[in-house]
Amino acid sequence: MSVKRQIISWICLLGLGLLASFFLPPYFRYLLGLMAVYSLASIGMNFLTGYTEQISLGNAAFFGIGAYVFAVLQSLQINSVISIIAGAVLSGIIAFIVGFLTIRVKDIYLAVGTLILPLLLLQVTKGMDITGGTGGLSVFPLVEQENGSSLEVAIIIVITSIIGFVSSLIANSFIGRAFHATRLSEHGAVARGIHVVKYKVVAFVLSAILTSISGSLYGVVVGYITPELFQVMISVNFLIMAIVGGRGSITGSLLGSAFVVMIPALFNVIGLAQWQQLGLGIGMGVTLLLFPSGLVGILSLLVKRRRVAINESKPVASETN
């Protein structure tokens, strides 16, 4: 997508989001805030699972790190922006180390390997005083008295839009293309001088940073955080966002985030809250059955475009000969 088109798309999205944050009733405003927040984690997961095909069940670790670093620093009266950045930097450094250690690990082994970090952090946050133990921590609103005010959601929309826009610039630049290249033909990528290991680590770090920022803002929207943020189910939800939305697509990531927020909310609204998880599962099954390349596939029906996401048809793998 050309830069001009990206700018226009993101400005429209930002405008719509701002409008909605001031006119929606509180519950829907809360959902809007969640969607915006999750969209960063969704993009983060997509850089891993979609763009470079590294499956991670550990992204909840970075979500939790972002949330806890923000909450702890906030209680120490540290500026919110600095707190968000601190979480992101810490997550980035940890991801760099983990990414480097696991670079030769693939597929299901990588998925299982990445589980270790969140499980570890789950225990640590449960056991420490500074993280509030099992009860977790309260997160104070960014502005005004209550979490989830119109102004606060608007601020979150602005922050997530800016970061989303930057992510989309990266995805459409030589970095995103290198991600695609390493996935589609590793030897082809190498022959073009692409350092495959480097770009896999870059994807890992980028993913962690986005997920961490998402975690910091999640605390703000919800008002409290608990060690449950490190649960596997959180990572699985990010995975669902990336896959149901559309692997290898920023637009898809946003749709995936909306899907994971709206389906359970729908069940909530019609009084079937206990069936939320089942609804999510069925919704996912139906979507992928109809649109194997994800929700973004619906867009490709509307607009006849070249490529909106990774096609369902996998290329035939060829070796170095």
């Binding site: 293309r177 695609h180 589609l184 190498v190 073009r192 001088g193 490529r307 290329p315 060829s318 170095t320």
Partner: protein
């Protein structure tokens, strides 16, 4: 020794106790067009993999302008302007032709961070010029192209990488006679324009004879002989080697 000369010295490759290459040596000087021929399984692709460092398990030396390449990683070979293609294509199927050209220019993007948008324009313009006489659109998805068109795109992508040595692994495999002739014309024309030396692995005797000034024949991992195409393809042992696997 001449500048920009690629030398392969006494390459041996054993994998799992099987000898795949045995004492293979030859060199490629600036402006040369050398054909590396031989029956299926002779080790031609393996030679390319050793030169471009995709294969690391060999013994012997690969040098370019007197610099030893043995310790380099395969992704660093484009820095030496030693560029290769693949027998089974190394294109990125789900992406467009233009995106494939952009990826071919990846190293320029990495080194010119400040001017990525300008560079994108330049690459696009160059890709348009390269595709001038082709019925290939920049926005076509690579997997939607015919096999012959994909071979052409891969060759042109290699040109974007500004080769000083261009190594083509079976550029004519799977092409019909018309496409083969076009491929020869295109390679010759581009070589004159851009002045790279060429190493071509190819099965088709006509193709090699028309394109190359020199031929190196490989059989069962060993150098059988080398010389001009007219001379080499007349030789008994070469004909035998070919007939040994007749209907390829």
């Amino acid at each position: 020794m001449k500048a920009n000369q690629l030398q392969v010295k006494q390459i041996r490759l054993n994998i799992g106790g099987v000898s795949i290459l045995n004492d293979v040596s030859f060199s490629l000087s600036e402006g040369d067009r050398v054909g590396l021929v031989g029956p299926n399984g002779a080790g031609k692709t393996s030679v390319i993999n050793c030169i471009t460092q995709f294969e690391k398990r060999y013994q012997g030396e690969v040098t370019f302008s007197n610099k030893l390449l043995n310790k380099e990683n395969p992704q660093d070979l484009p820095k030496y302007k030693i560029i290769r293609t693949f027998q089974n294509l190394g294109l990125f199927n789900e992406l467009t032709v233009l995106e494939n050209f952009y990826i071919a220019a990846h190293q320029s993007f990495e080194s010119k961070l400040k001017n990525v948008f300008k560079l994108e324009k330049e690459v696009k313009q160059e890709a348009l010029t390269l595709l001038e006489h082709e019925s290939i659109n920049l926005h076509d998805i690579v997997s939607d192209l015919s096999y012959g068109q994909q071979k052409i795109v891969e060759f042109l992508c290699a040109l974007i990488q500004r080769p000083s040595v261009l190594i083509l692994d079976e550029p004519a495999a799977g092409l019909n006679d018309f496409e083969k002739n076009r491929m020869i014309e295109m390679i010759l024309k581009k070589q004159q324009e851009l002045n790279f030396s060429l190493l071509v692995v190819e099965h088709d005797v006509n193709f090699v004879s028309t394109l190359c000034q020199n031929v190196v024949v490989l059989q069962s991992g060993e150098l059988l002989c080398s010389g001009s195409p007219e001379e080499v393809f007349k030789r008994k042992e070469v004909i035998q080697a070919w007939i040994g696997e007749s209907n390829v």
